[in-house]
């Protein structure tokens, strides 16, 4: 059981980082999972090609909230390209069963056993792709 809901995921899910609104967002997008009711609004401040701030609001399960919390932490300091590369690599890992190097992303891999829960983990990353206008 512990590998599914590691303390790391539960902590981030219960007390997500960057759960707030941003005044000077340069990019933003809404993400929805109509089937489970997860909903988030992601805001990013891009300055000189680098993410200066990233934050989100919304509601969802622990997996989705934790993933958004971890993601917004990770985004800060990344270039747009790095963010998009990480997003597409993580989504691929969740669907195709590949490994990821980042420890904080590894915490979500067990949920691949539940196809219904994969999108809980990937919704924030899909939303950042949307915010940056990528597919």
């Amino acid at each position: 059981m512990d590998e599914f809901y590691q303390d790391f995921v539960i902590e981030h899910g219960r007390h997500p980082h960057n759960f707030r609104e941003v005044e000077d967002a340069t990019h933003e997008a809404e993400g929805d999972s109509p089937l489970c009711g997860d909903h988030m609004r992601l805001q990013v401040v891009l300055d000189g090609g680098v993410v200066k701030d990233a934050a989100f609001t919304g509601e969802g399960c622990a997996v989705c909230m934790a993933s958004a919390s971890v993601m917004t932490d990770m985004l800060k300091g990344m270039t747009e390209e790095q963010a998009l590369e990480t997003a597409s690599r993580f989504r691929k890992c969740m669907v195709e069963g590949l490994e990821v190097e980042e420890l904080q992303l590894q915490a979500f891999l067990p949920f691949r056993a539940y196809p219904m829960r994969v999108k809980c983990a990937t919704l924030p990353w899909v939303t950042v792709q949307k915010a940056f206008g990528a597919k």
Partner: protein, 403 residues
Amino acid sequence: MPGLPIADHFPALRTQVHGKRLVYLDNAATTQKPLGVIEATDTYYRTQNANVHRGAHTLSHIATEVYEQARKKLARWIGAGETEVVFTRGTTESVNLLAYALGSSLKPGDRVLATQMEHHAVLVPWYEAARRAGASFEPVPVTDDGEVNLDALASMLDERVKLVAMTHISNVLGTVNPVRQAAEMAHAVGALVMVDGAQSLGHARVSVVDLGADFVVFSAHKAYGPTGIGALYGRADLLDALPPFMTGGGMIRTVAFDKVTYRDGPERFEAGTPNIAGAAGWSAALEFLAGLDLAAAALAEERLGDHLRSGLARVPGVRVLGHPKQRVGIVSFVAEWAHAHDVGTMLDLDGVAVRTGHHCCMPLMKRYGVAATTRASLAVYNTDSDVETCLESVRKAQARFDR
């Protein structure tokens, strides 16, 4: 197999989940199937398979018998006449059939009422029927306890109301609704009543006469039968007056390019080759039900359900939705420390199968101010040990998440 413990009739209950004993508490979604049903379906395909009503050969005659015997058996079980039972693919198709056929007589200014606790399978077809006709579609409110507010229904009823849709048993709250009383009220203003019986057959002995409804819709698979078959009960005089819904083979009397005439009775609504194996399986499911002491089973289920209800309510941060006076073993709850999907995954890891989400009842979710609930629903094979395992798993989730 008399004398066999009930759970032993259900081979799927022996499946292990994550190395744990399966505790199947998603019966409101679909029940497991007893051996008799599995064998009847198997026997049909192995030894009896042919198309119905059409062939001159022996197997076709046998297949027709299998299919029509199922209709007779269901009709007897629910207290209807044979010509009052239309086979469909399930509750959803039954409602669509009715909403289309009966809905075609709706006029602008007419009103269709449905309770706030109806399933999307009832709400959406009637919403569409009302919209097509320019009629209004209005919710009958539900109380905090999870009961239909009959006073509100009384004040809503007038001669413009053409149909009232009410579920017999709520798939979310477990409420058993006072259908007969509501039907009498609706009939007094000339409205027809459609009852959603999707949850009924598995939990209670159903008599369409006692329900007092004009139409009742059923699925086999929520009461130990196979998926892909259900029924629409309609009072004979009302069914005869309805135009066809699906058209095609089997439901016609004569076909020419300039004129088609249709058959009477249930056949008019059964276009195409029906689910004959499903009918064979449904017969066997009804035999399984007939072999149970249903009154005792219902009492036992209510007791187990109440144990589940009170056990859940004692877990810190858990709120059970509704507390209807008349109820069956279907219990929905929310936890302030975790989303329903997290609760569902935590329970699954312990082998406990429950449903999470809006249960196809978005208006009811809104009524209670929640986006999703976790639902545990009981069947005849569930035991004290199943309920205890579920409660233990919820307590474990609370200990893990609530910090």
